[in-house]
């Protein structure tokens, strides 16, 4: 990084530290930080979409759809997220490849399952065998987002399902009295009003989501915890220009501060959103806001 870093063994103090913290390996860790933030930014809306779909399905009047929605919510909520992370990525990956295999190579002579091996035709591989490394990484990232979204979507579905039911019945009855159809009442009355009921649950979920990111390494993403362990572990002079004893504690301390700060910022932002959403709502807090303003 810096010109004076060419001979690390001669450095001391701050100069050593500045070189140490800018090694290629550390840069990878800073990138991993970005990856985690990006993953959170993409997962949150995706999980919300899954949750919305799940809640709609669970509310459906058509029994099989409703059963499906309820089963999705109940099963995923009932199982520790780690258990899913341990095999879901491989399962999803294989599912996609089987679908592509059926579409692209209908006349493939061999079985997909050969003993323990899972072999699809080369055209169906995801990503293709010729693809560069960044495509593989992006695909891995995509699978991780999808897994997170499916798991947290079930929790979101549960929250939204409750929130839809929390909208006062009188509101819907009034809408029906105005001649709205069920669909209209749902989209125009329930959906706009449910957020204020859903937000406490959703903010809680966001906090849980932030704290689930240390499990990303199970999904094949080299996240900050992976790098903290890797960089913090004791290094001998033979394999590194910057030998040091076990420093994992300091790396984990940095992670701890990062997570606490992130939580604090999230709390402040969510608090603002809550206040914004409460405005003009027929709830105690909304009433209090109105009185304070008057």
């Amino acid at each position: 990084m810096f010109s004076f870093c060419s001979d690390p063994s001669s450095l001391e103090g701050l100069a050593w530290l500045s070189c140490y913290l800018t090694t290629g390996k550390h840069i990878e860790m800073y990138w991993a930080l970005g990856t985690v933030l990006l993953l959170l930014a993409i997962t949150a809306p995706t999980a919300l979409a899954f949750g919305f779909g799940g809640a709609m399905a669970a509310r459906s009047r058509f029994l099989p759809v409703s059963l499906f929605g309820r089963a999705y919510i109940a099963i995923v909520r009932g199982v520790p997220d780690i258990a899913f992370f341990m095999f879901f990525v491989i399962a999803l990956d294989q599912l996609f490849e089987v679908i592509r295999h059926k579409l692209k190579c209908p006349d493939w002579p061999q079985d997909i399952w050969q003993g323990n091996d899972f072999v699809v035709c080369p055209e169906a591989k995801l990503p293709l065998g010729t693809a560069p490394q960044w495509v593989h990484e992006t695909y891995g990232f995509f699978l991780a987002v999808l897994t997170f979204a499916i798991v947290f979507g079930a929790f979101a579905a549960n929250v939204l399902f409750g929130a839809m039911r929390a909208v006062p019945r009188a509101q819907v009855e009034t809408a029906e009295a105005y001649g709205m159809t069920q669909r209209q009442a749902f989209w125009r009355i329930i959906v706009p009003q449910m957020w204020v009921y859903a937000l406490p649950g959703l903010s809680n979920l966001w906090m849980v989501l932030i704290k689930a990111t240390p499990l990303l390494f199970l999904l094949g993403i080299e996240d900050i915890v992976y790098w903290a362990r890797e960089l913090g572990g004791a290094k001998t002079a033979r394999f590194s220009d910057y030998p040091h004893p076990d420093w994992r504690m300091w790396y984990f301390l940095a992670l701890l501060i990062f997570y606490l700060l992130f939580t604090r910022v999230s709390e402040i932002v969510l608090d603002r959103i809550m206040r914004r959403l409460t405005r003009g709502q027929a709830t105690v807090a909304g009433e209090a806001q109105r009185k304070a303003a008057a």
Binding site: P80, M86, R248, M249, L256, R264
Partner: protein, 268 residues
């Protein structure tokens, strides 16, 4: 070997009772079910004990956070913030590290480095922080009318809290607390996975699921078995907490009683 023999050999393996060596080859479904179920004992141990202990601590913390005196309020607020704001993963790491240091200074603290005590303490503190936040929220939403009515009856201080405020706080916080209990049981799978080492191959359900996935190279059998057990566990928790919920709300008129529904309604 019949399945009954397997259960006799491995049913209590996670506690160190029975066959010492884990199965090495020719893995049967029965072995996987038995050992993973055996590991579940640890999850139940961690979950139940930390929930019971954490409950009392959580009540104290919730009151502390609601206190006017900053000497009580500030520590409670910080405690809750730190434990709710950081991943359990990292808490386990620090706890293990700290316990090792303590052990080297005071040898009689050695049991802390074993998961059965050390991890339990972390889980107690963790669930106490989460539950305290729930109870604090519930305490804040106790209807003003209830307190005024208590005052009118001449109830004050501890008696007012014990008879009026606390039962209402429990009642209001209970659904969220049910969720926290479920999450806590799920979190117990992290104990051996990231924090504390296993001795004598005595591990929890995830440890054995991981063992089989590693030996059979097939994750699609042990993890779904693990999932199956946890769904049963979750249903049990919902059942117990639902019963308590019904008791907490028994004074309310039938229609107003919020039920934790077990059987979904299909026809409306």
């Amino acid at each position: 070997m019949s399945c009954w023999e397997t259960i006799a050999d491995y049913g209590l393996r996670s506690l160190g009772i029975g066959e010492r060596l884990l199965p090495r080859s020719d893995f049967t479904l029965c072995q996987q079910f038995t050992l993973i179920g055996s590991g579940l004992i640890w999850n139940i141990y961690f979950g139940t004990l930390s929930l019971l202990t954490g409950f009392f601590l959580a009540n104290a913390l919730a009151l502390g956070k609601a206190a006017r005196n900053p000497l009580l309020r500030k520590p409670a607020e910080w405690f809750i913030f730190v434990f709710r704001g950081s991943p359990l993963f990292i808490q386990f790491f620090f706890a293990y590290f700290l316990f090792l240091q303590l052990k080297s200074v005071y040898p009689f603290l050695a049991p802390l480095t074993a998961a059965s005590l050390g991890a339990l303490i972390v889980l107690v503190l963790n669930t106490a922080a989460y539950s305290a936040e729930i109870f604090y929220g519930a305490l804040m939403s106790v209807p003003k009318g209830d307190i005024e009515a208590a005052d009118a009856y001449g109830l004050t201080g501890w008696r007012r809290f014990r008879r009026i405020i606390w039962p209402t706080m429990m009642r209001l916080g209970w659904p969220a607390y049910t969720n926290e209990a479920i999450f806590l049981f799920h979190a117990t799978t992290l104990v051996f996975f990231s924090g504390f080492p296993t001795t004598h191959q005595k591990g929890d359900a995830l440890y054995y699921a991981n063992y089989f996935a590693d030996k059979t190279f097939n994750p699609f059998v042990p993890y779904p078995i693990l999932a199956f057990y946890f769904i049963l566990l979750t249903l049990t928790i919902i059942g117990i907490f639902g019963a308590i919920n019904a008791r907490l709300n028994r004074h309310l008129p039938r229609v107003q009683q919020p039920r934790i529904r077990l059987l979904p309604q299909f026809l409306r």
